[in-house]
């Protein structure tokens, strides 16, 4: 199983732990992720705030690079995943945009590179049976709130990831790992996303409401699949404590870190020392040798 892998800019900074855990899980499951040589930024929110053609051309540049490898693309960052899917959709449905993008890049792109989120590869390609066989450790009933955020599930006709109001793909993985999935209503609420620096006040409000609901629903940790959600929900807990007086101390980990633990990979290799709120209780529960 070989894929062209697009890590995205956060893999080199705020989400190194995501990058590490995706790589480790891929190796353990024999998924060959070949990083696109010379990949560039997808443009994220600042691009679509600024200029439509810019916001399509940046992902298309990477889709063109992937196309030359002849492999389908795998992304983990939900924002990059969303921008790649939106770009494909626009190119496929809007001939004028396709023409303008071709003129901008000096190369025509037909919108045909398939884009998968890493979790989709796990569920759809590896499959539940094989995954279960590969697990050497269990989450021993750990209560996990799976949090999807916005960009994986919306817009549904474009990402086609899962149900936009009640996605269950991560819950399936949690159950498979022996964890207890929490039935809670804030799975697809917004954490404030790209406002991490510019409107921290909005991030604090929205993340507080999500963390509060996770806590009230009895979660012992949250599993995420987006670097922006991870950093907002994890790092902003100290600000929420200061501003709102709520002390959650709730570990927020990547789903791939939980998968890695269950595959017997050491927490250090999964970058779990990089979490701000210590995930030590989870690690001790699963007991993976360092």
């Amino acid at each position: 199983m070989r894929y062209s892998y697009y890590p995205g800019c956060s893999a080199e900074s705020t989400a190194r732990d995501q990058y590490m855990s995706v790589n480790e899980v891929a190796i353990a499951l024999n998924i060959e992720l070949i990083e696109i040589k010379g990949w560039t930024c997808c443009g994220s929110t600042p691009a679509h705030h600024t200029d439509k053609i810019l916001s399509i051309a940046l992902p298309v540049a990477n889709l063109l690079m992937a196309q030359k490898t002849g492999l389908e693309m795998v992304v983990f960052c939900a924002a990059c995943y969303n921008r790649m899917k939106v770009a494909n959709h626009e190119i496929q449905t809007n001939p004028e945009i396709r023409k303008e993008i071709a003129a901008t890049l000096g190369e025509d792109y037909d919108g045909s590179v398939k884009v998968h989120h890493f979790i989709e590869v796990l569920i759809k390609e590896i499959g539940v049976k094989k995954l279960k066989e590969a697990f050497t450790h269990s989450l021993y009933g750990l209560k996990v709130a799976s949090y999807y955020g916005c960009l994986l599930v919306r817009p549904k006709d474009v990402t086609q990831f899962d149900d936009p109001e009640n996605p269950t793909i991560m819950d399936k993985l949690i159950k498979l790992m022996g964890g207890e999935m929490i039935d809670w209503p804030h799975k697809v609420e917004c954490c404030g996303g790209g406002f991490a620096l510019s409107r921290t006040d909005i991030v604090v409000e929205l993340s507080n409401s999500i963390l509060g609901m996770a806590e009230a629903s009895g979660a012992q940790c949250m599993a995420v699949a987006c670097p922006m959600c991870q950093i907002n929900l994890d790092m902003r807990q100290s600000d929420i404590h200061k501003i709102k007086g709520r002390d959650y101390n709730l570990p927020v980990v990547y789903i791939t870190q939980l998968l890695g633990l269950c595959l017997g990979i050491s927490p250090k290799k999964l970058g779990m020392d990089k979490c701000v709120v210590s995930p030590k209780p989870i690690i001790e529960l699963v007991k993976v040798a360092e």
Partner: protein, 187 residues
């Protein structure tokens, strides 16, 4: 929100400009307010997504750029997911942000356009984002230098922020992309 419409001629073409930029038929909105009920930031402002649409339908003109919601919308797309008329409100907001910058709309809390500019400048330079360069440019410009300084050493220690930019990007395409004029493309 109360919408004030004055008698003198409005900067009339706003609705057409937004429609041209976003490709979305704003006139089809029924004001069912599902967008406003699902919007995560409506609790933080008095202007709701359905008000923005209504204001455009009533032709309030450039006064719309005073609405703080335009720069508070996190593009979560809950509005679009629930709209019975399939109006992609997130794209309408994108169009309004583009127009606001073009027309020199009022500066709002957080100065999001400056953040966007700082972010995109690093992409133009390196092909990828460079957090420290982006944060420095944004903070110097928005005079919020002290915000989050407590987190910087911790992030550096955890390797969650890169000191030097990445030089691995192939800028073949980004050079062409950033060679064109930004902010006025039509779809």
């Amino acid at each position: 929100m109360s919408i004030v419409i004055s008698k003198e001629k409005q900067a009339g073409d706003l609705i057409n400009d937004v429609q041209k930029l976003s490709g979305i038929d704003i006139r089809s909105c029924l004001q069912c307010k599902k967008c406003s009920n699902g919007c995560p930031v409506t609790g933080l402002t008095n202007v709701h997504p359905s008000d923005i649409i209504r204001a455009m339908q009533l032709n309030v003109g450039d006064k719309i750029f005073n609405s703080d919601l335009i720069w508070m919308c996190a593009s979560c797309e809950t509005c679009y997911a629930r709209c019975p008329m399939k109006i992609n409100m997130a794209e309408v907001m994108d169009a309004l942000r583009v127009l606001s910058v073009q027309k020199n709309g009022p500066k709002q809390k957080g100065n999001v356009p400056l953040f966007n500019k700082s972010f995109l400048r690093t992409v133009k330079m390196f092909g990828r984002t460079y957090d420290i360069g982006m944060i420095a440019a944004y903070k110097l410009g928005s005079a919020s230098l002290l915000q989050d300084t407590d987190k910087f050493p911790m992030m550096l220690l955890k390797g969650k922020i890169a000191l030097i930019p990445s030089f691995q990007a192939d800028k073949k395409y980004t050079r062409r992309i950033f060679g064109r004029k930004l902010g006025n493309t039509q779809s």
